[in-house]
Structures are given as C-alpha cells and as structure tokens.
Amino acid sequence: MPQQLGIIVLVDTANALAERTLSGNTYWFDNAKLYGSRNQGTENLVTAIHGSYWRDGSQAAEQVLNWLPYSLGSLPPSVPRGYVAERSQCSDEEVLTELESIANGSSAPEAAELERLRKALGKRANAHGRGSRGQKVLDVTGHVVTEVGSEAHSYPPPTITDVFGQAVDEKVIYPAEYGSPDLVTGGWYWAASVDTSRPGTYTYEMRIQLHDLVQRDGEILWEPVNFTCRSSLKITTEPKRNAFTKAGMGYLPIPSLPSQPSTAPAAPAAPAATTEPTASQH
C-alpha cells in the first residue's frame, strides 16, 4: 500500500485575478511536516518524501501525491461537491412555488412582489465557449447573487490543468488526472506516483485555471484565465517507518521476544474429540 500525501494549493482567487499572477497569491501545505517538509503555508513549500525503503535496502511501495486546489474567499471545500448546482435548483423551486401561489390568487401581482421574485431567482453565468446555460452565481455565504457587477460572488474552485517541469521531465513523478467516484467530495483530481529511489530536490510546475466573472455583450460568463506556479519535492533515503507505533526500523512493529522459557505453563490440551453416538452403542 503506497503512502498517500495530500498537497493543498490555496489560491487567493480574487487577488490573483486582479493582479493577473499567482505570485504572492498562493499558499501551499502538505501533511508531511513531521517528515521534514519546509515552508508550510507559503508559496515556497518543499515537500519531504522519504524513500520508501525496507531495512535491507530494498524499495518498498512508492509515494503517491494528491493535489487539492482550494479558493481563499470562496465557498469552503467542506460544502458538498455539486453545492452550486443544488442551490441553483433550490432557488428555482422556491420561486416557482411562490409564482404558483400568485397565479392561483385572485388579484393581479404587484410590481414589487415580482421584483422580489426576480431577485430571488438570481443570475446564471455560462462557462466560456459552451452553449449551455450555466449554474447560478452564489455569494460566499451560499445565497444566489441577483446583481452581478455590484454584489460579491464566490469563485469556482481553481482547476489544475497540467503538472510538468523538472520532476516530470526526469521521470521522478508520474502525474495524471483521475476521477473519484465519491459523491460528496469526489470529482476530478490530480495525483502522481513518485520514484523514491532517486534522492534529491526536484521542482515541478503546475498550470492552474481560475475563472473570472465578466459581463460581455449582455451575457454573464465565467472566463477562464490560465496561470502557472511552482513547487518542489525533496526525496531522501530514510527507511520506511511505522508512524503509528513508532517502532523504529524493524520489519514489523512487534518487539523481538526471547525464546519461550521451559517453565511456561503448557498449552492446554485440546479437548477430547466428542464422538458421535453411533447406532451400535444403542
């Protein structure tokens, strides 16, 4: 079973889009601080990877990296995946219910009431270059945005579109995009296996796509904007350890025992086998 390592890339999306650079607007984390990763929470993270070796020098399983891009100042990653779609549908249903009661009423609807319903409906934004209607725009508290342009909105999570650079060129990591079947937190994600047999420090680069909300020719669009950022891995040849038992370098976390003393009580004798009564005993 390979070791799984998570690397969070937290992007200040609004600032990155305003400044048109990820430089100064990304914060990296991994869960290998105890293994010696450096510069947690900055844009200069060096991820420590212990070569997965057994005590005899033979290679154990390779390390696996999982990258998780999050957006600072947007809906947090703890809300379920598909949350925007779900909220879009919910607001439609709420407005339809209210419209139905208005239609069934005896008096004509007032303009103010219709305006309130229009606002409750929110605005949809299309993905650039796709013909279909997109999902609604939500604010950072999960409510639909009525007036795009004057109200603050939540950005979609950043999307990794490629991992490349030295570590890939030198065949130290083998990145690829995978799909997770998990309905709540799943979706597409980038992962890589690491050849831990080659110690050293390697850089890698990542293409990240953010989406800027723009109004063009009367249409509201999520316009993709592409960025690049860089991080690095430091692979060392520490032997594989058991982090749960901290049992050191042994093969298994079981301390070696002296041979069993002769005074030890003998194992209880196996119970005598019961014999099935046979017809001859009767």
């Binding site: 200040d12 869960n31 600072l72 950072v140």
Partner: protein, 143 residues
Amino acid sequence: MTTSTKQKQTTTSRPITITAVVDAVGVLASDSTSGEVYLYDTNKSGGSTGFGTQELKTKVKRGDHLLWTTIALECEAHVAIHGIDIDKTVCEPERKVYPNTDVAYWTGTVKKDIDGAVPYRISFQVGTRNDPITTALSPALVG
C-alpha cells in the same frame, strides 16, 4: 469580431474572508494550536499582514463585513470554529450555516473605525476532541 464590453466585478461589497487552515492531526497530537494553525484573509491588497501565522492582522474599517471559515489540512478531518472572542463594541461575530448544509461559518460587521489593533481569539472544534481549543497567539483587526 465580438465587441468586448467587459465589465469588471466591483469589489466594494466583497466581504473580507478570514480563513484558518488547521492541521487537525497536528493539533490533536500536540494538544495545542501552536504551529498548527495558519491564518489568511482576502484583504492583502488593502494592507493586511501576518499571512500564514496566528497573528494575522486584518486591515478593516467601519462597516466592513467579515466572514470566518476553516479548512482542514487533512481533507477527511473535522474542523470548525467554536467561538470568536473579540471586543463586542468592535464586532459581534455570529455563527451561521451555508444553506441546506451543516457546514458553519462566522460572520460579523465592524462597528467602528479602529485606532491601533484589536486582538481576538478563535477557538476550534477539532476532530473528536471534546473540548474546543483556542489559538495560542492572537490575530487582530487593525485600523
């Protein structure tokens, strides 16, 4: 050729989001938030400082809308804000949830212009730990 009438989003009404990235395993292992909590906000261009530390200084002015959220460094760990202890004459944060979820955030409005710094404390619920745990150092709102 499409006529481009791109209109940028105005940022006047954007709330300042303060996000705590919490190393849940680290907090549980060391029984402390020291070195295990990283604070950020979205007002870097407005003059906030101390990014990535527990002494984040968020630049605010009267009327600013603030929003506190958390991110767990281990994606399957539970981390939430239990409370925010701050001078109530400056801000009274309250707990809310994202609609149709049980995921919480805290929000409040800056009531007055601040002269200097107003430190505050955040306490977190982490994993299955029964008692909330409070930041070792104080972040602050600064004027």
